[in-house]
């Protein structure tokens, strides 16, 4: 038996792919998280109200989602509901995170795969090629920065935000700041759509070149956005079944009845399943579960996607295209929300700390994220973090097996397998820091 190990780059955290080949047949393909963050251990005994400062540090890429989920879980324990203005500002914050994340995944992580480059910052030798790539990198970082600026505006800090507090948010968003941000978005939205178009084109060419869009077996999809409301500060979990019909939705309090999470022997990340079946979360799951995004440009991309690839769409490279649709949506939606009044009105409600168990759900860029805390005598007794990347673990493994079988045959192992492995994993945009919480 031959074991091939591929270290991975252009993903968050330390992970590798291991493929066992026996007699020119793929025996096993595995995706392994090689580090362990262990926050569910560190936070034991921490005063409950302090956990919202600690858990954003699970991951610098996803800190916003963790902070909001954490605050929502404690609000659930204390039995309070934040005022509508606070929910809106949290939504702007989560949109900022979606922009930052999708721009990173699209342009920094996966665009180099389309041109077989090693990074967005690698410039070719020819002057023409160099100028084009340089401008792509500059454009991509500009779009990404809108996300960062929105997080700063609505979260008070560009990483590990602080403005979301138990009961609401610590302050509104001033008109002049909102107006500045709107101007930036207006100026850069055409740049974003141009980038998304270039990316789309490059993806079509890559699909033609390779002759496959990857694992396309129908699967369960999990998301917490609604069919006609893409609210990321979400309330319930929805599941699409492999045949495209929707299963009953469920409340985060009941997640254990639907999602089974198990430890893994060969990885520091666990794996989850839906009623024992493989499931997928992240962009493609949301888009498959969406009728309309509610903003004009994004809905146009959505129609084009559905007309071209059908609904539900299953091939894994569609995750990447769906991130492009979401990037456009998040920019448009953030502008819409900033045009409203986010300055005046009640920003937070008071609360009395108490003991109990609470659940906090948000739709993070990688899928539904749930924090569950058990509070006893004002301290965290146990903390569970239900992580979107973990929902995708079985799907990643299956997609890797599909790719490995494509490139391993009687003539041996095709060198293209290394690139394929990178493309497959990046389609799911896994986050290892979160997955090993």
């Amino acid at each position: 038996m031959t074991t091939i190990t591929y270290p991975l780059s252009r993903i968050e955290g330390h992970a590798r792919v291991v493929i066992d080949v026996y007699d020119n047949e793929v025996f096993r393909a595995d995706f392994q998280a090689m580090e362990m963050r262990g926050f569910s251990h560190y936070v034991r005994g921490v005063p409950a109200e302090q956990i919202t400062v600690i858990v954003p540090r699970i991951c610098g890429v996803c800190s916003t989602a963790h902070q909001v989920a954490s605050v929502k879980a404690l609000e659930d324990v204390f039995g309070i509901t934040p005022p509508p203005l606070a929910s809106d500002i949290r939504e702007v914050l989560l949109l900022g995170q979606l922009i930052q994340n999708q721009a990173t995944s699209l342009f920094i992580f996966t665009m180099p795969d389309r041109t077989n480059a090693s990074s967005l910052f690698e410039l070719s030798q020819s002057e023409a090629g160099k100028a084009r790539e340089f401008s792509l990198a500059q454009m991509a970082l500009k779009i990404r920065k809108i996300g960062t600026d929105l997080i700063t505006l609505a979260g008070g800090q560009f990483i590990h935000p602080i403005k979301t507090v138990i009961g609401g948010v610590s302050s509104g968003i001033k008109r002049e700041k909102a107006d500045q941000m709107i101007l930036t978005i207006q100026e850069l939205l055409p740049v974003a759509t141009e980038l998304v178009d270039i990316y789309w084109e490059m993806s079509m060419e890559m699909g033609d070149r390779i002759g496959s869009w990857g694992d396309d077996e129908p699967t369960h999809y999990l998301a917490s956005t609604e069919a006609n409301n893409y609210c990321l500060n979400s309330q319930r979990l929805r599941v699409m079944q492999p045949d495209g019909t929707e299963a009953p939705s469920f409340d985060p309090h009941d997640f254990e009845a639907y999602l089974q999470i198990a430890e893994s022997e060969y990885s520091y990340a666990g794996v989850s399943s839906y009623m024992g079946q493989i499931l997928r979360a992240n962009s493609l799951a949301r888009i498959n579960l969406t009728e309309s995004l509610g903003t004009p440009r994004a809905d146009a991309y959505l129609r084009r996607f559905v007309q071209t690839f059908g609904k539900p769409a299953h091939a894994i490279m569609f995750f990447d295209l769906c991130r492009g649709i979401e990037l456009v949506y998040a920019l448009e939606k953030a502008q819409q929300m900033l045009e409203g009044d986010l300055e005046h009105g009640e920003t937070e409600v008071g609360y009395a700390p108490k003991d109990g168990t609470g659940f906090g759900l948000v739709e993070a860029p990688r899928g539904p994220l749930i924090h569950r805390y058990e509070v006893e005598n004002g301290l965290i007794k146990t903390a569970d973090f239900v992580i979107p990347t973990v929902h995708n673990m079985l799907a990643i493994r299956r997609a890797l097996t599909v790719a490995a079988k494509r490139y391993v045959g009687p003539e041996g192992i095709n060198a293209e397998l290394e690139r394929a492995v990178g493309r497959v994993v990046r389609a799911f945009d896994p986050c290892i820091a979160c997955a090993t919480k």
């Binding site: 270290p7 991975l8 780059s9 252009r10 968050e12 955290g13 330390h14 392994q32 090689m34 580090e35 362990m36 963050r37 262990g38 251990h41 560190y42 034991r44 005994g45 921490v46 005063p47 109200e49 302090q50 400062v53 600690i54 540090r57 699970i58 991951c59 610098g60 890429v61 800190s63 990173t104 920094i108 992580f109 180099p112 990074s119 967005l120 910052f121 690698e122 410039l123 160099k130 100028a131 340089f134 990198a137 500059q138 970082l141 920065k145 008070g156 800090q157 560009f158 990483i159 590990h160 602080i162 403005k163 507090v165 138990i166 610590s170 302050s171 060969y266 990885s267 520091y268 820091a433």
Partner: protein, 290 residues
């Protein structure tokens, strides 16, 4: 345009951390024009650090046996090594700081087949290699990254966070109780300590632009101790904070002590101060601290 091949090479080695430092670096696009990024697994496909790197930034703490190996290998391939972020300087949030229940629970859950082994604790990187420059912060701001890369020798870093905060300290506003980690309405332009917040900006090194305290969030000390408290026992920085609160507030000393030792602050403040208790570590002089 200058060809990228002529620019000085820099690399980023990620040990065990959250990638927040890398995200912060990416938030500055200024380096694109000044440096050639040759290794940074988060954004570049390259399996090894080239052996002619000018500057190696190391993020994350030493958590696994593999981290030690990669760190030593990285040191041998660079002229200059910069420790970046709270984790590289102290081990970070993964350090257990005397919490034996958490440590046992973690270590019990952390064994896997064929994967790097977890060490008993998370360690600062200068326990294993020489460090030329320290860049603290969780994460350091993009501006601080650029200073570290371009011209750290001539950097002017504010001594403490208060210097950049701009909030006024009042003599006649003396709170009698703690306002809580953060609750209630924050008055603009007035020092957070006057308003009863446990803000540790008075002992924390500046350079961050006071980006938490200006909008009204108490400093948690992520940039670590200011110069007078470097390489000193924890009690020096804690005593200074106690003096500040005694001078500016009427909050009972026991209440201040309880917060200063809470997990919320121990994330940063406690870690940097604990660090100094390890006798075999090299001194971190103020010249090496950005």
């Amino acid at each position: 345009m200058e060809t990228s091949k002529d620019l000085p090479k820099f690399a980023v080695l990620q040990l065990s951390g959250c990638s927040g430092c890398e995200v912060s670096l990416l938030n500055s696009d200024e380096w694109i024009n000044n440096f050639q990024l040759v290794y940074m697994p988060l954004v570049v496909t390259s399996n090894k650090i080239p052996d002619d790197v000018e500057v190696l930034l190391v993020t994350g703490g030493v958590r696994t046996d593999e981290d030690i190996h990669n760190l030593r290998k990285g040191r041998s391939r660079t002229k200059k090594l910069i420790a970046v972020g709270t984790c590289a300087l102290s081990g970070g949030v993964a350090q257990f700081k005397g919490n034996h229940i958490a440590r046992e629970s973690f270590l019990k859950a952390s064994h896997r087949l064929r994967l790097p082994d977890m060490l008993p604790n998370a360690y600062p990187i200068d326990r294993f290699v020489d460090v030329d420059l320290y860049l603290p912060g969780c994460p350091p701001t993009p501006q601080l990254f650029m200073t570290a890369l371009k011209d750290p020798e001539n950097a002017k870093i504010a001594a403490i966070v208060c210097q950049e905060c701009g909030r006024q300290k009042l003599n006649d506003m003396r709170p009698t109780s703690i306002t809580g980690p953060r609750s209630g309405v924050v008055l603009p332009d007035i020092c957070l300590v006057n308003q009863g917040y446990i803000c540790v900006g008075t002992s924390t090194r500046g350079g961050c632009g006071a980006l938490c305290t200006r909008p009204g969030h108490a400093c948690v000390g992520c940039r670590g101790p200011a110069n007078p408290y470097l390489n000193k026992e924890p009690k020096f920085v804690l005593d200074n904070l106690r003096r500040v609160f005694a001078r500016m507030t009427d909050i009972p000393a026991e209440e201040i002590d309880a917060v200063l030792e809470s997990p919320w602050l121990s994330l940063f403040l406690g870690q940097f101060t604990d660090y100094t208790q390890e006798a075999d570590l090299p001194l971190r002089t103020k010249e090496k601290m950005l």
